[in-house]
Subunit: 443 residues, 2 copies
């Protein structure tokens, strides 16, 4: 038997009170959740951990709830469930471990924490017979984690792919639909509160890497650490790429991809990708997230919804809380196995079966013979092209400089390693000034 609730009052400790924490606290305090518990239990928010007690906060939260002493929550024997919305690796990890050691169940929205330390946290929770709920770590309000862990549990999942970062999707949508530059679209996203003042984690694909690591681990029941997920951001994408992508019939999306091949090999990546315009993912614009799951029974399921924001994220956190309370005496089975380090490195090797079409944009001097020289190198490496296009400077294409031309090519399916070797040689060609952007085609 698991830890049982002592009274019918479920006491909650909240770690963090930023925008999401404030929303969660407000919902917990307004009493609406109690009626969802069918009268058997009552939820009581006991304490909220904050960094700075003197900071002015939402008036609807009584000041007496705030504390800056973690142990007041982590060691309080009356607190049954911890909701962790502080984000980041430290000190969240230490707090969460201490809470579980003290027999508290956990609801978390912290993707970095679960991506990096899932094995330790799940392992300890299993040992201490407490439950972990983590639906809010990926996809904001979209119940993708619960869908994979519960509803699709009978499936052998073969692929999970999604638009997992709302900030970059907003930027890419604005670049496409309003012909903005990346800088202008980012500025707008920051003004609207969709992007942080330091947007590194979003733009460089780190946020999507954490989420892909979590989805892959849960879908394939094997821990895939974030550093095993090769990740690329969107910083190299320019308006020129949207111009060419559209000509070729594609949208550009930053996709997190996790795939298991028939031989058991798992491949994960975060890659800015060309998505055929008639595919559902191509039409997911703005701050929306979308995830597609393929499995042996379900075939294909797609979930689309708000991937961030205090209300949607609270929807996931509080849904998790209610479900945790409903099934509080249930076991918490380990969601995945953790391979030893030497076995893990095998998972990192990319399979020779993994072939994609690649799009490459180069800046070249507008001289005779560039395409010939490029063709010679590609042919040597047995890379065949589906299309190639060179555009000289035109008055209305601000992305081209005088005397230079933009050259793009789209390969047939090849291994990425092969392309990289060829590009290293192409880079040495005299008229090639820069290899600007590489995109992968999502099939």
């Amino acid at each position: 038997m698991n830890k049982e609730i002592k009274t019918n009052e479920i006491q909650i400790g909240l770690l963090g009170c930023g925008v999401i924490g404030t929303q969660v606290a407000t919902e917990l305090l307004n009493g609406n959740l109690d009626c969802k518990l069918a009268g058997k239990n009552r939820i009581k928010l006991k304490k909220i951990l904050v960094n700075d007690l003197s900071k002015s906060r939402d008036n609807s939260i009584p000041e007496s709830l705030f504390t800056n002493s973690p142990d007041e929550i982590l060691l309080d024997p009356d607190i049954d469930i911890i909701i962790e919305v502080m984000g980041g690796e430290k000190p969240a990890y230490d707090y969460v471990i201490k809470a579980i050691q003290n027999g508290k169940h956990l609801v978390t929205a912290n993707k970095e924490l679960i991506a990096k330390h899932g094995p330790q946290i799940f392992g300890l929770a299993h040992e201490k017979k407490v439950q972990i709920k983590l639906d809010a770590t990926v996809g904001g309000g979209i119940p993708i984690i619960n869908t994979i862990m519960d509803s699709l549990k009978a499936n052998q999942i073969t692929e999970v792919v999604g638009i997992l970062n709302g900030t970059t999707n907003y930027i890419l949508s604005e670049m496409k639909n309003s012909k903005k530059t990346l800088e202008a679209a980012l500025k707008e996203a920051q003004d609207k509160g969709y992007a942080e003042s330091d947007p590194t984690n979003d733009l460089e694909g780190i946020d999507a890497k954490y989420k892909t690591s979590i989805l892959a681990s849960l879908a394939f029941h094997q821990y895939i650490a974030p550093d095993q997920v090769p990740s690329h951001g969107i910083k190299s994408i320019s308006p020129a790429d949207f111009h060419f992508a559209e000509e070729l019939g594609f949208s550009i999306k930053l996709l997190g991809l996790a795939k298991q091949f028939e031989d058991g090999h798992i491949s994960t990546s975060v890659y800015p990708s060309l998505v055929a315009a008639d595919q559902p993912l191509a039409r997911i614009d703005g701050v929306l997230n979308a995830v597609e799951v393929r499995g042996d029974l379900i075939r294909e399921l797609m979930l689309v919804g708000p991937g961030a924001g205090p209300k949607p994220t609270s929807s996931a956190i509080l849904g998790d809380l209610l479900s945790l309370i409903k099934n509080i005496s249930s076991d918490f089975p380990l969601p995945y196995k953790v391979l030893p380090a030497n076995a893990r490195s095998k998972a990192e090797e990319s399979s020779s079966d993994e072939k994609y079409r690649f799009y490459t944009r180069l800046r070249v001097n507008d001289k005779v013979g560039v395409i010939r020289d490029l063709g010679i190198i590609l042919a040597k490496h047995q890379i065949s092209l589906e299309s190639i296009s060179q555009k000289a400077h035109t008055p209305d294409s601000s992305w081209e400089k005088g005397g230079e031309a933009t050259l793009i090519f789209l390969t047939h399916s090849i291994g990425e390693d092969k392309l990289k070797i060829a590009l290293d040689e192409i880079k040495q060609l005299d008229p090639v000034n820069e290899i600007c952007c590489i995109l992968r085609v999502f099939e």
Copy 2:
């Protein structure tokens, strides 16, 4: 405490062995599910109820499992969980009630059963402390029921709308994309196994009515019987409607809609609807189902996937089974309240706030003055038009007969009652031969 499993072997009784039952039995017998239970439990399919023992069946199911005696399953004290996939109201209802009375948990895919008898089944289950799982009743493999009951539980849901019937969606998609007649598209759906030989339940919106009843009841925590859901089928839709819909910028979809207004009033319907071409639901084609849910926290969530078929439906049934086993000691709270009959009739009254734009197609004699006469009647009832269009017979429009013309109009937002009164008068006009088709615009 609920009924506890006696051993770590969970014994299953399966009611029904059609295409879905066969798929479920195969999955239960191949042992793949046991490893999903983290080693603690083992699933054993003990008996399968069939009508006719002499019928030849899938060889992979041992003959010894079949029985034609319901009590061999319903009264077997060793059977813990019943999976009901026989479909239809009777005798499924009697079997399910008897099983619950004997303390058995239930996983069901039977929409008619749950739509018509949910209150009795849930009430008895609550009393007997057994659980009911019903994800497969709506949307095939799409986990829409679990999403509403669990993941979105913290939300105040305001609207659920969806393409809930794959057969009619296939027919409408073929009529649109391949310019087929309804009869030709139906024939094709039957040939491909998407439609039954008697397609009444699909074409007349009865299947969608059951599903809308279930979704509305669970979303708004109040039982809405299927006979409270005004339902229309797709039989009046002709190629002409797709022609005009496309001109106006719409797709035609059969939508199940459940909406709760701020005053608590609930409105439900199954209506062939015009959906603006840029809305996600407009692009869900073929046998796919899609459901959109709106709530105070989540804002809007969409799920898209296969709405029928043995494998996707098994995904839902077996996901439910695994989740039932995991949480087998949990309480089963009543998912909705049941209002007494006199209060229920109030829910049936349509709110005067409910206004929609309506599309109407008429067959008229191609004479001077039709539009004038129609205009006079509409003006009298204060119905203003957004657009009106009349097409005389042309050689390439096979849907128009000599001497006749097709007239369509699209109203501004009005109450449906008002339109109906006006149409009753219009029907009396001498040149009006028939009011062929009424569609509602989904906003």
